[in-house]
């Protein structure tokens, strides 16, 4: 089987355009609080969810908008939700980390790791209520160290639940490099619980798609869970306005804020340890450099890659279509918001 690349590309373009419109709204101050975007994860989301059917469950983490866009949740009502409008998807009560669409059996949670038990629960219900139904559980590499997620791997195997675990591995959990706090390997971890695990390049939609096909087929056949580890890039920092990314964007201002206390700490008496302290400052600098770097230096944009898989003409057309769809949704949302104000 081969994927329909135009369809996949279109989903990715829709997601990207949607995320970018959220970014604009957030920067304008129209969306409160944290805002974690899924920019960089488009290929994973599109590649996996291309296999989803009506009635399949969707358990999401704090980067929940891309899968919801892919599953066809009404875009206007999602934007209205972020804007805190009572006409929003959740009446303004959920916001960007708690998006729920009962019609799509899709739920998200801001508690890292909780999308695993939730997905297992959706899969359990499918086992009773929906012949061949599956559930998708999305989470990050940081979440893969959360106990409730690990024990869910076991539960899903023990109960042969039709769930597909998708780890979007951007190698960061906020400012912590996952490789520095994660022992062993995540695919081996998943396999050790008794399920198949696939490691794919999450910026290449076709690789994700193929792995997901195997995982979903297995689940629909009643053979139990699978795990997909998809490497990707965090292109926008942890969240919008990420202070460490800002060091790159406004180097003077941010450095003025960050540096003085560091210098004080560097020189705090007793000075005995000054040499090693310089090393510690270096570490801070390196983390900031890498974090910012991912945004500005990355060349692993999944959209460019997917765009290369289809004719240029098609790409332009799909980009336009996606732009239009998002622009319309945005306009409708803002108009309604206006009317309400």
């Amino acid at each position: 089987m081969k994927p329909d690349f135009e369809k996949l590309y279109f989903q990715m373009a829709r997601i990207r355009a949607f995320e970018e419109s959220l970014a604009r709204l957030w920067r304008q101050g129209l969306i409160p609080g944290e805002m974690h975007l899924g920019i960089g994860e488009e290929a994973i989301v599109a590649g996996v969810l291309d296999h989803a059917r009506n009635g399949d469950g969707l358990a999401l983490d704090h980067r929940s908008t891309p899968p919801l866009v892919a599953r066809g949740v009404d875009l206007t009502s999602m934007i209205l939700e972020m804007l805190g409008d009572e006409g929003g998807l959740c009446g303004g009560w959920g916001g960007h980390m708690h998006l729920f669409s009962r019609d799509h059996l899709a739920a998200s949670s801001g508690i890292v790791g909780s999308s695993a038990p939730l997905g297992a629960g959706f899969a359990l219900a499918a086992d009773y209520l929906k012949e061949g139904g599956v559930a998708f559980s999305f989470f990050g590499d940081g979440a893969a160290n959360q106990g409730m997620l690990l024990e869910t791997f076991n539960l899903a195997v023990a109960w042969k639940l039709p769930v597909v675990f998708v780890c979007k591995d951007n190698n960061w959990a906020i400012t912590t490099r996952s490789s520095a706090v994660t022992g062993g390997s995540l695919t081996r971890r998943a396999r050790s619980f008794g399920m198949p695990a696939y490691r794919v390049n999450g910026t290449q939609v076709e690789s994700v798609w193929s792995a997901a096909l195997k995982a979903v087929t297995r689940a629909r056949a009643g053979k139990g869970p699978s795990f997909i580890l998809a490497r990707c890039c965090r292109m926008e920092g942890h969240f919008l306005g990420d202070p460490l990314v800002r060091v790159f964007e406004e180097p003077v201002k941010q450095t003025m804020e960050i540096a003085p206390p560091l210098i004080r700490a560097l020189l705090a008496k007793p000075l005995a340890a000054a040499a090693s302290r310089c090393g510690h400052v270096g570490y801070i600098g390196r983390v900031i450099a890498t974090l910012g770097g991912e945004k500005y230096l990355t060349r692993r944009d999944p959209i460019s890659h997917a765009g290369g898989l289809i004719p240029e003409q098609a790409r332009d057309r799909l980009d336009r279509e996606a732009e239009l769809e998002i622009r319309d949704a945005l306009a409708a949302a803002l108009e309604r918001k206006e009317r309400h104000a």
């Binding site: 469950g57 358990a59 929003g88 998807l89 959740c90 009446g91 303004g92 009560w93 959920g94 708690h98 729920f100 009962r102 059996l105 739920a107 949670s109 508690i111 909780s114 695993a116 038990p117 939730l118 997905g119 297992a120 629960g121 959706f122 899969a123 359990l124 219900a125 499918a126 009773y128 209520l129 559930a135 106990g147 409730m148 024990e151 869910t152 076991n154 539960l155 023990a158 109960w159």
Partner: protein
Amino acid sequence: MHEMTFAEAIDAALERAMADDERVITFGEDVTMLRRNLYVRFGPRRVRQAPISESAFLGAGVGAAMAGLRPVVEIMLVDFIAVAFDALLNEASKVKAFSGGKWNVPLVVRAACGGGYGDGGQHEQCLWGLLSGMPGIAVVVPSNPPDAAGLMLSAIQSDDPVVFLEHKLLSDYWLDYLGGASRKSVSFDVPDSAARGKVDVPPVVVQIGEARVVSPGTDLSILSLGVGVHRSLEAREMLLKEGLNAEVVDLRTVTPLDIKIVTESAKKTGRVLVVDEDYIGFGLSGEVAAVLGEAGVKCGFARVCTESVIPFARHLEDEALPNTRRITGAAHHLCES
């Protein structure tokens, strides 16, 4: 009406609900044995044994409930909810609000609670106050077989999460397992009227949120629940002989609290004594005081609760949990001041 033990009453209600509604399933550690009667009838798909992974399977219970099942998830002893607390605090109790009222979680969490048999401080807690400290869930604590059956039915029928707590001193099998009741030489202060009783078949639903005046009285109101109700009734007898006529109220539901019955009783007697096996601080007894205050009822107030970690030694434990000596003492003190 059938004569049933407390435990039989709960399982009869659950069995009835499972027979009536295919969506009702139950899972948890050792349930194939703990609920072996249900297992024989309904088999391993509807009575599922789980690994020792409370956050995974309670969290899965939330998801399953959202997706259309009506799971009754067993957490064995309520003390163990600590390892799965997120599923209640941040998931089950919040879905309805987060979804703008569009999605609900018809989940029952069933757990045994309470002490009086010498298992020590990690296995004998009540925790109903703590569990009530978040909006969005109900917590019920029956004190006799018909209420146990009726509240279990209500819990399963509820469209929102309910924690159902079963006191171990009332459930013979828990006492057998954990108290080591196979030994003739150990004894427990089990209130007889509570451990067995007549239950309608099918059981009559008891609404969540409805307290009950068990014994009317005039001098003070003793508000309690679970085993505390029986300690209070015993204390009532002693107080009667000493010239005090106490009203005993069985709260039955911790949250939502039956504010009407609580305030009416307090207004009538002018004195409220809360007998609560849970920890004294920041829980049910405080909430009672607050709703009385909010209702403008200016009455005497006292409480007999558990004030420390529950000690292991039976004689220390008996002193730590509410007992008739402490209840009557507090009642006299309250009526004198």
